[in-house]
Amino acid sequence: MIMKNALYLLVVIFCLSGCQNTSTKEYVIDKVNNDLAKAVRLIYMTDTDNSLDLSKCHPIDYFRTLTPPDDFGDAYECVAIRYQEGLLFSVDGSLAVYFFDNDKLTKNYGIISAVPTKDNYWLPAIITSDGRSAGYECIANGTNPLYFIVGLEQQRQKLIEMKVAFDPYALPLVEPIK
């Protein structure tokens, strides 16, 4: 009887603990859903003619980052989902959602964000940081190498506007708001 009760409790604890740290995931899914509803372009980068069925893809990681600031100093929020099959992302205000097959990426690991093209489209990028600046490396296959280096201080104002406090699960590359 004791064993049976303990088993019940273990199941409950296990299940509840599995729901921890999902705030980024939930936020990203909500945001992507919202962006999909507003989007006027859903862009699938692939070498196949097959249509994309996201319900058959396997999500791995969820990201919420800032893009490099534009000429006016404005950074935009980027949400991304890494799948086993590729990468989905959207940038706030762009009215487009992108999915890049793995074949269309030079790599599919690291922290995902996006960088702009001169035509006002967005390409996937990975970010690294030394604590003072963030480096964006474009990971779209077949494009010329594209890098951006951004002082994190530049992005602070955007974070204040977004009312985002530092959260390693939310915006991994930005300093805490003090």
Binding site: N5, Y8, L9, V11, V12, F14, C15, L16, G18, C19, T22, K25, E26, I29, D30, V32, N33, L36, V40, R41, L42, I43, Y44, M45, T46, D47, T48, D49, N50, S51, L52, D53, L54, S55, P59, L88, S94, L95, A96, V97, F99, T117, D119, N120, Y121, L123, A140, G142, T143
Partner: protein
């Protein structure tokens, strides 16, 4: 009796806990499928193909032939616009814009073109911003609807095309410098800022 009460309470509690766990599991795993399963993406092989606008190619635009589907006409305004500075006949022109409930028309040099609201980035509202025209690459529309913006701390204005909803790559701009306005004055145009008298 007390043993029965204790037994029922324990059963009730355990059942509740198990149900909570099951609900939690379902909510944790259901998000992805629920949200992202029914969307139709367009296939592209390169970002160049995207930027060239496979589906939003302006050279394939078919504009309305008249205003019959535009609903009630709301107001009209006359503004000053300019041909392309590189064209052989550079000069100022008069643009007459009619704003309807579901579209706009632009008339310059006797050529009138119609643009449905569905293709407009934004529809003008009286007193909010002024609709004018700029040279166009859309078939059968030598002029397209535009909005004008004064660049801060500079002496030039930017005409920005409006009939490119959701297609930023094909948004066109025309830089209008100070001497354009002087040139227009010499041609006899009388205007207050953008609006013709």
């Amino acid at each position: 009796m007390s043993y029965f009460f204790y037994y029922m309470c324990k059963k009730f509690l355990l059942t509740g806990l198990v149900m909570a766990a099951v609900c939690c599991l379902l909510s944790c795993n259901g998000g992805q499928d629920k949200v992202l399963s029914q969307v139709q993406f367009e296939n592209y092989r390169s970002i160049k193909e995207v930027a060239e606008g496979k589906s939003l190619d302006r050279t394939k635009f078919v504009l309305p032939k008249d205003d019959s589907a535009f609903g009630k006409k709301l107001y009209s305004e006359k503004t000053i616009c300019f041909t392309d500075v590189t064209s052989s006949q550079f000069g100022a022109r008069t643009c007459t814009a009619d704003i309807y409930e579901n579209g706009v028309s632009i008339e310059v040099e006797g050529h009138k073109s119609y643009f449905d609201a569905a293709g407009m980035d934004m529809m003008p509202k009286e007193g909010e911003f002024t609709l004018t025209a700029m040279p166009s690459d859309i078939p059968n529309a030598p002029w397209q609807p535009a909005v004008i913006i004064l660049e801060d701390e500079t002496d030039f204005w930017i005409y920005t095309s409006l009939y490119n909803k959701g297609d930023g790559a094909h948004q066109r701009t025309q830089r209008v410098e100070g001497w354009y306005w002087e040139y227009a004055k010499r041609q006899g145009y009388k205007y207050k800022v953008l609006i013709l008298n």
